[in-house]
């Protein structure tokens, strides 16, 4: 095939996965083109205008530690930063920021436009060019042919997208944008197992018509915690959000009109996310709850548009307007854009390797909703991983993977490729066995070395990381080495705050674990030379390490005791059906999941202990041979 243009890597889709993939690939030196339906909508937040949240915030910081871009973009465009779970332990605290939707989009496009080796192309991909089970390029709707060594598909909800609003349905990728039907058909033709998922979005309101006084305001943090390790200061002015509630009358009204809902009429076949239920689902499944919480989230500094978080719906637009007005404070509110549900195709992620490459088609990578995930952060981290691997493939470098023992990204990818999905997959802290070790503030310590090795972490960021690490090391030393003695002046004052029970002396590390102390207090007690260079944040970092170290050890030993063989590699292309003693059904489950380690096999649902024992023996033998 003759190509009009040729690149090392093509990325299909300009959403959160596509942007990370294109940026990473180009910065690794691969000539890269981002193919998008609409250049003006690169980095668009299709649903709520926010990034982060519990576990999701961790993902963004991991992306940043590896050298991705999402963290830096949201830090420049976030208009309400809050550290969630601030009152809880450091491992489960996570940053969240609401974005100025338009600013985020512009900043992302600007970032990509200033990336060397990266070209932007507008148009719709309708076909893949594949020869000898390897991808060679793509065919555009306008007839252009673009060649590449690797292609990343990050098409979001566009694959065979079908919007539902009441009983009306129409083909679309997002409201007002065309669906990508031909590409979806291509994937099916290639024999990839394709399923349907569903997601939804709430109505957007005209802020001028809201009675804001009827809502409880929620402020941004005074001391915003940034996503990027490179951000020194959050510059955007911070805004308030507002909390309100639905009423019983409103619930009754929805119940009476359920026949209008495509969710309940059977019109929608795809499975939606349980943690992001529509308002219809909420009032049906939790009928005894007499109110549901709503958040009013302004979409930006220069717009009246307000996102009605918690009110995702696919009821007819007219009825949505009526329902919104039943919310106290929204009595005369007008909807600017109605909510809707959308069904779209995804490809079973068990088709993928840990590098997110489709096993049966060389050079083809999938990232984001095509893999059955939901969420900007989930999409972005897959985009980053796929982009790195696409570039590496083009450059003949070895695969890049992350382990579930050291990052949420590793957990997410491992879950996807071994267990598949039966509803849109979202990250949760409880999905990680090593949650206590995965803090948002130590993502750099866990992952920056990999980003540096790959080539995405630049000299300045690497230098900053090393300095921070050294400072924290010296703080740790000071914390365990500095003791407050009975003879010290500080002792009596401390005893007032937290009874020291007459101990002769206490180290700062031990002191910090006592109730009634704070990081600021510990900072004050540090020796002068350490105090000068240390920040409260770095002290908190050091204290978190000491808080969790015992638990992490006991957890590790429990897991090792029970799962000692988890790291054993399963050879690529092992013929599971050829293993004697393995039932047909068990072999089939293994074949479908294609686990790469024994640990991955262990997590495959439905595998019996006997099947695992058989596999273990076989793998042990072949590992030697």
């Amino acid at each position: 095939m003759v190509f009009d243009e040729t690149f090392d890597v093509l990325v299909i889709g300009g959403g959160h996965a596509g942007c990370e993939a294109a940026s990473a690939s180009a910065r690794l030196g691969a000539t890269t083109a981002l193919l998008t339906l609409n250049l003006d909508l690169i980095g668009q937040m299709s649903c709520n205008p926010a990034i982060g949240g519990i576990a999701k915030g961790h993902l963004v910081r991991e992306i940043d530690a590896l050298g991705g871009i999402m963290g830096r973009v949201i830090d420049r465009t976030g208009i309400q930063f809050r550290l969630l779970n601030r009152s809880r332990g450091p491992a489960v605290q996570s940053p969240r920021a609401q974005a100025d939707r338009a600013l985020y989009r512009l900043e992302m496009r600007n970032t990509l436009e200033n990336t060397p080796n990266l070209s932007l192309r507008q148009g719709m991909v309708v076909d893949l060019s594949i020869r000898d089970a390897k991808v060679r390029g793509v065919v555009m709707q306008d007839g252009r042919r673009i060649g590449a060594k690797a292609v990343v598909i990050a098409a979001g909800t566009f694959l065979n997208g079908l919007i539902h609003a009441g009983r009306t349905t129409y083909s679309a990728g997002r409201a007002g944008e065309p669906a990508s039907v031909e590409l979806a058909e291509t994937l099916k033709r290639l024999g990839l197992p394709v399923g349907r998922l569903k997601t939804g979005t709430p109505p957007r309101l005209d802020g001028r018509t809201i009675n804001w006084d009827a809502f409880q305001s929620q402020q941004a943090d005074e001391r915003p915690v940034a996503f990027s390790f490179s951000t020194e200061k959050i510059e955007q002015p911070q805004i308030d959000c507002y909390i309100g509630y639905t009423t019983n009358d409103l619930h009754e009204r929805i119940r009476k009109n359920l026949h209008e809902s495509p969710l309940y009429s059977g019109q929608i076949k795809g499975v939606g996310p349980r943690y992001c239920p529509s308002i219809e689902d909420k009032v049906v499944k939790f009928a005894d709850k007499d109110r549901h919480q709503l958040f009013l989230e302004p979409e930006g500094h220069d717009t009246n548009e307000v996102y009605l978080n918690g009110f995702s719906t696919s009821l007819p637009a007219g009825l949505q307007q009526e329902l919104v007005r039943m919310v106290p404070g929204l009595e005369s509110t007008k909807i600017i854009r109605p909510g809707y549900a959308i069904e779209y195709d995804y490809v079973d992620p068990r088709e993928l390797g840990p590098d997110l490459q489709v096993r049966r088609i060389g050079g083809l990578f999938h990232a984001g909703q095509i893999n059955g995930t939901t969420g900007y952060e989930e999409a972005a981290c897959q985009g980053l991983l796929a982009g790195i691997n696409a570039a590496f493939l083009a450059q003949g470098r070895p695969r890049f993977g992350l382990r579930r023992e050291e990052s949420y990204i590793g957990v997410l990818v491992d879950d996807l490729i071994t267990q598949g999905v039966d509803e849109p997959y979202r990250i949760f802290t409880s999905r990680a066995e090593y949650r206590l070790a995965f803090r948002h503030d130590n993502a750099d310590e866990r992952l920056s070395k990999y980003g540096r090795e790959a080539g995405l972490v630049g000299d300045a960021a690497w230098e900053r990381f090393n300095q921070r690490r050294d400072r924290i090391a010296s703080i740790k030393k000071a914390l365990s080495g500095t003791r407050i003695r009975k003879s010290d002046a500080a002792y009596a004052a401390l005893n007032e705050r937290t009874p020291l029970n007459g101990v002769d002396s206490i180290s700062l590390e031990e002191l910090a674990k006592r109730p009634g102390t704070s990081s600021a207090l510990i900072l004050e007690l540090l020796p002068a030379e350490t105090k000068r260079s240390a920040s409260v944040e770095e002290i908190e970092f050091a204290l978190s390490d000491s808080l969790y170290s015992g638990y992490i050890k006991s957890q590790e030993s429990a897991i090792q005791r029970l799962h000692a063989h988890d790291t054993l590699l399963i050879p690529n292309g092992l013929n599971f059906r050829g293993l004697s003693g393995l039932s047909h059904e068990m072999a089939e489950r293994l074949e479908r999941a294609q686990p790469t380690t024994f640990g991955a096999a262990r997590r495959i649902p439905g595998l019996t202990p006997a099947a695992l024992a058989t596999l273990l023996v076989n793998v042990s033998i072949t590992a030697r041979a």
Partner: protein, 447 residues
């Protein structure tokens, strides 16, 4: 790689029993068993050594050291051939586990052997068959040996644990949702309740392994009080020679019997007294050992004469260990009066008329009451189950104390997840997906 240990010979009584160790600590553990820090056995050479528990000799055994990689598993290995008494083997296994070794999983020696390339591919099929045979045997055993029942019995405990975890997990994951506040008191109470349940199940191990290996009962007493007669009556045949001559029984005699369906290993012993000759001295020494090894002692006293110094001595020797006093010869006029026996059960019997024999049987079984087949609860017989339950219990206790110290949910959950993992090794794993599933069906989550 850690060091593993297992009894390699089939369970039950046999002439010899082989205990195998594999792993880097094998030699070190052997040194500890023989209590010689610098013991340097020549590899592949069999040597006779005394295995010691503290000061006492546990057994005289043949030990062989195999140096890595020249061993079955390819690791350092030690093989100990000791006398095939389940008691000795169990004590040895317990002792070894106090050092740096754990019980091997089924097939683990073979597995290590494969992993270290000690078996080539042509042997693979054979190994696989072996493993299959093992899993089949394990499956049969599992059904028979209550592990199915155990998993079932643990289900409510596990569900309760998951319910608590769901509440704590939700608090962490869905901070922005309108969830009910956590009732720490209630959670702590539930965790303690679960600890109690797991703990009482673990405690049945003692009775459980008695049920499997049999209760060891020793009949002791001064000469000529009728020990052998009682022994024969309980056996229901004339096994021991009975005469009027004091000291007829010179050596201990053991027979396996079933009392009301419970396996009992009954030992008749030589009478306790100042030894008359060397043979008798050895016999009496064996009596001491039988007494010490027994789970229960039956102390026989001649009711037709007054309490002798020797009787008192034996009573003293029994000390705190469980014993039953059988006052024999009720067919004769009774003169013995007993008081202050630390609550020990006293039964009046006549070996001659068999009067009181059913009462004696009942008294022997009474301390193992939970094994009574009619009201028998679930008993743990598998040491692996015991190990897992004990670990689960410890994790729950740690979680409870974290609650006391007002630790964060994620810290309490770390221990609860460990507890769930240990229980899961018995009942089957609970995935995080299942926990999330329960969160979504319990609470209305999602903005």
């Amino acid at each position: 790689m850690d060091t593993i240990v297992a009894v390699s010979t089939p369970p039950g009584r046999s002439a010899i029993g082989v205990v195998r160790l594999s792993g880097p600590a094998s030699l070190q553990i052997l040194r500890a068993l023989v209590q010689q820090d610098h013991f340097a056995p020549e590899p592949n050479r069999v040597v006779l050594k005394s295995l010691l528990i503290n000061e006492d000799v546990l057994d005289h055994s043949l030990v062989t050291y195999f140096q890595a990689p020249h061993s079955f598993t390819g690791e350092d290995m030690v093989e100990i051939s000791c006398h095939g008494s389940p008691v000795v083997l169990r004590q040895l296994l317990d002792l070894i586990q106090t050092h740096d070794a754990r019980l091997a999983e089924p097939g683990e020696f073979t597995l290590r052997s494969c992993r270290n390339g000690k078996m080539n591919l042509s042997q693979a099929e054979a190994i696989r068959d072996l493993i299959n045979a093992q899993t089949q045997a394990a499956a049969v055993q599992a059904t028979r040996q209550l592990s199915g029942q155990l998993a079932q019995a643990l289900q409510p405990t596990k569900q309760e644990l998951v319910r608590v975890m769901v509440i704590l997990e939700s608090a962490i994951e869905f901070v922005e949702d309108d969830l009910p506040a956590i009732q720490r008191d209630q959670i702590k109470e539930t965790i303690d309740h679960l600890t109690g349940k797991v703990s009482s199940l673990a405690e049945t191990y003692q009775a459980g392994h008695l049920l499997r290996d049999g209760i060891r009962v020793a009949i002791v007493g001064r000469p000529n009080v009728g020990k052998s007669s009682l022994f024969n009556k309980l056996l229901r045949f004339e096994r021991a020679i009975v005469t009027d001559i004091a000291g007829t029984t010179r050596d201990s005699l053991t027979e396996a019997i079933s009392l009301q369906g419970i396996p009992v290993s009954l030992t008749d012993t030589a009478g306790f007294r100042e030894a008359g000759d060397e043979i008798e001295a050895i016999g009496i020494e064996r009596t001491r050992r039988a007494m010490a090894d027994a789970d229960l002692r039956v102390l026989v006293i001649d009711g037709s004469c007054s309490l002798q110094e020797e009787d008192r001595e034996i009573l003293k020797a029994a000390g705190e260990d469980p014993f039953v006093v059988a006052i024999n010869k009720t067919d004769l006029p009774q003169v013995t009066r007993l008081d202050n026996l630390n609550g020990a059960k006293v039964v009046h019997v006549s070996a001659l008329t068999q009067e009181g024999i059913p009462e004696l049987t009942a008294a022997i079984l009474e301390p193992f009451g939970s094994m009574d087949s009619a009201g028998r609860g679930l008993l743990i017989t598998d040491s692996r189950h015991y190990d897992l339950l004990t670990r689960a219990k410890r994790s729950l206790e740690a979680a409870s104390s974290s609650m006391d110290q007002l630790a964060g949910e994620e810290i309490v959950l770390a221990d609860l997840h460990n507890a769930l993992r240990f229980l899961g090794a018995i009942t089957g794993e609970t995935t995080s997906e299942e926990i999330l599933g329960q969160i979504f069906s319990t609470f209305c989550i999602g903005k």
